[in-house]
Symmetry: C2
Subunit: 439 residues, 2 copies
């Protein structure tokens, strides 16, 4: 591999050719990137322009998970995920709870935030006075930027000066709360914050009570926060224990509920389990985030930081058994958008939102959290009953058999052989070979 100047200026085919000149592919020096292009050049261009230096499309399976009842309304949820068993587990949970009252979801709050991070030296009290005097002027300076959002019912909700000098010398923040309605709002928030940063500098420069050094506010950066604990949604399921039914291995509803509750408690106290527990929740959440054109890095970063908010990283869901009622619940921050970004630009993101009956951001928060809880229920149910390997191995085996282009007869044979054996690529290949030699 060599270095290259001006790579971004090459066209798509030139980029592919350069790559081919640098790497010998196992498939005769052609990686087949063109095989994954959309046949319609105009439509392909939409995907090419989402990002930079694009040469192909990476396919992710687009699947469908039906039978969610959320607050009495039925949903069929599109999920984009490459991991096997996730869509199956979530769908089973949805159906399980459909017969037991469905999911109940509620948006607690939708506040988003951003900060102007700045350094300032001087008498603290004077800075706070300056802020009081200039607060409305600061807000006026972004009038043109917020006008549209205000027309839609959103805008800036509050702006506060925060003294952070106990943590870092001369460090202060303008902390700004936003309501961005149905937009995720990153561009809006960042534009407003950058303007506020400029206005803050200017106002300080002109503020008479400040001595020279105090007039110099050094704005380090202006940026939205992906930490949105006040953009919060709650979802839960609940039923009498006896309605849970029986489980495999002669496990009674009561035993199942007790084991399930204990598994959730373990995730609350043990970081090793908590991380995997929450990873499972995000298996469900991210699949809907991806399918609807939202940004999973933002959702992940926020959710996991939220899981550590009390100083210990903990499982995000909770389970209780009280007065004979089994209840399983998830409260999670989700800053989502149903307008803007990729939501309408990506044709399948647009289709996903239509399948979900074009929800607003709040409704989408409820749906996404619910799929996370459904997925978590499915995973824990497997873990405390049959174990997860049984289902996983079945899917894994099929993937490998596909890759080996196994015949229908070979597939049936392999299913029997690997019923109680550990599935690995080499083991399956050996088994297929053995069978071929026999015939």
């Amino acid at each position: 591999m060599n270095k290259i100047d001006g790579f971004s200026k090459l066209n798509k085919q030139e980029k592919i050719n350069w790559l081919a000149s640098q790497v010998v592919s196992s498939e005769n020096n052609s990686f087949g990137f063109e095989r994954f292009w959309h046949e319609d050049e105009q439509e392909q261009k939409i995907f090419d322009d989402f990002s930079e230096n694009t040469i192909s499309n990476f396919y992710f399976p687009y699947g469908i998970s039906p039978n969610y009842s959320i607050n009495g309304k039925m949903y069929t949820v599109p999920m984009v995920i490459e991991e096997s068993s996730v869509v199956a587990a979530a769908s089973l949970s949805a159906k399980f709870w459909l017969k037991r009252g469905g999911f109940h979801a509620k948006v607690i709050s939708t506040t988003k935030k951003g900060q102007v991070h700045f350094s300032w030296q001087g008498e603290k009290e004077k800075l706070f006075n300056f802020f009081s005097v200039n607060k409305s002027e600061l807000l006026c300076s972004v009038n043109d930027l917020v006008a549209n959002m205000e027309n839609r019912g959103g805008g800036i909700r509050d702006i506060t000066l925060i003294d952070k000098t106990n943590m870092l010398d001369h460090y202060y923040q303008l902390d700004v709360k936003f309501d961005t309605c149905d937009a995720m709002g990153a561009n809006f928030i960042n534009s407003v914050l950058e303007r506020l940063g400029q206005s803050l500098k200017q106002s300080a420069f002109q503020y008479a009570p400040f001595i020279d050094v105090e007039k110099e506010i050094e704005v380090i950066m202006c940026i939205l926060s992906n930490y949105t604990p006040e953009c919060l949604v709650k979802t839960y399921v609940e039923c009498p224990i006896e309605d849970l039914g029986d489980f495999s291995g002669h496990m009674s509803a009561k035993d199942f509920a007790a084991r399930f509750e204990r598994a959730v408690k373990i995730a609350k106290i043990d970081v090793n389990r908590a991380v995997t527990h929450n990873k499972g929740i995000f298996n469900g959440i991210d699949a809907v985030i991806l399918a609807t054109g939202n940004d999973f890095r933002a959702i992940e970063a926020c959710g996991h930081a939220f899981a550590a908010k009390d100083g210990h990283y903990r499982g995000l869901s909770s389970c209780s058994i009280k007065n004979g009622l089994f209840r399983f619940e998830l409260s999670i921050p989700l800053a989502l958008g149903t307008v803007g970004g990729l939501t309408k630009l990506h044709p399948l993101a647009k289709a996903s939102l239509e399948i979900l009956d074009n929800p607003d951001a709040k409704e989408l928060m409820k749906i996404v959290a619910t799929v996370g809880l459904a997925q978590n229920f499915g995973a824990i149910k497997s873990l405390v009953t049959t174990g997860i390997q049984k289902g996983h191995m079945k899917m894994h085996l099929l993937n490998i058999l596909n890759q080996l282009s196994a015949t229908a007869a070979q597939i049936e044979h392999a299913k029997i052989v690997f019923e109680d054996k550990v599935v690995s690529f080499s083991a399956v290949r050996e088994e297929i070979k053995k069978v071929q030699l026999l015939h």
Copy 2:
């Protein structure tokens, strides 16, 4: 939307037909899922079988980021990401550091873990005695499962009994350390743990010193942990401050370094900034994780929990300025695989690994961490110099213009108009309309 029984048993076309019967699409009741199928039915089947209830492929832009020097070796890195500016920023950083010694990366350790979580009532000391006596027998019980992995140089590294009863009544763990070589190893670890759970129950049942109640170990669950702080890699860049060069707005290298260091410090102490700072790191990391067929939910969950390991959620990267040297560093846990899972099954994941010169898992850890650091450098560089909105808005504008099928002349016009205006879908559409009316 209605509920449905037996959805998973419908074939792909039937699934699509059912959806169409339930939802009125804006495009005449057809979502166009078929438009995104691969033309080769056999190749499409591979993607369909990764997950369940699949009906189409969700396209993600597959882009190329060149010019990384890691420990003196050149890499061109494939990135899969739908967010604009990420590939561009990472590539700029790679090139910036190429002229300044490149990236230096080192794998610290590669230990992965899993636990058998169980409940037990009795005299603690007796349980620990039981474990000492039966430890080698437990290990023997998984001999057949670990044989292959041991041949490749991996296997079980340690197995410990942990008393967790101070956190939850009667709660203990078997904590098992693994080396899974170049595999991510989830299936391997889970299979071993489920077997260990069975063996543990059996051994306890047969252990003579136990009284009846002590013979009953209740295994709650057996599962790998995605928390792998001991599967750790470090990467850094370093150069004399004066070599950093000049920055826009007449910012000197020294001022830039100071502002950069302060921005990184802020991410260490303020959770609002830390979450967004780390989100940026994962923009780079996840793009390579996706491109190489690894599991981003596992990587995200682990990385963010690691960011909170000392009780405060902090930025993952560090910056220091000492003796005239600017140094920027990232230490992050990354449990990756270059064999197994989707790595060879997904044709573009396979191509990605070939472009990266078929790295082993350790080499891939270095590459992935480096792209995370490069992305973080690019983001902070923008934030402390021009602000991030300038670049973002340019990309956003182009996306919108594409969607509106703007002509070349309209695109040029819009670029000028929106040079200093906030870009939004409605504003751009209005502007295009206005121009059309004028002509």
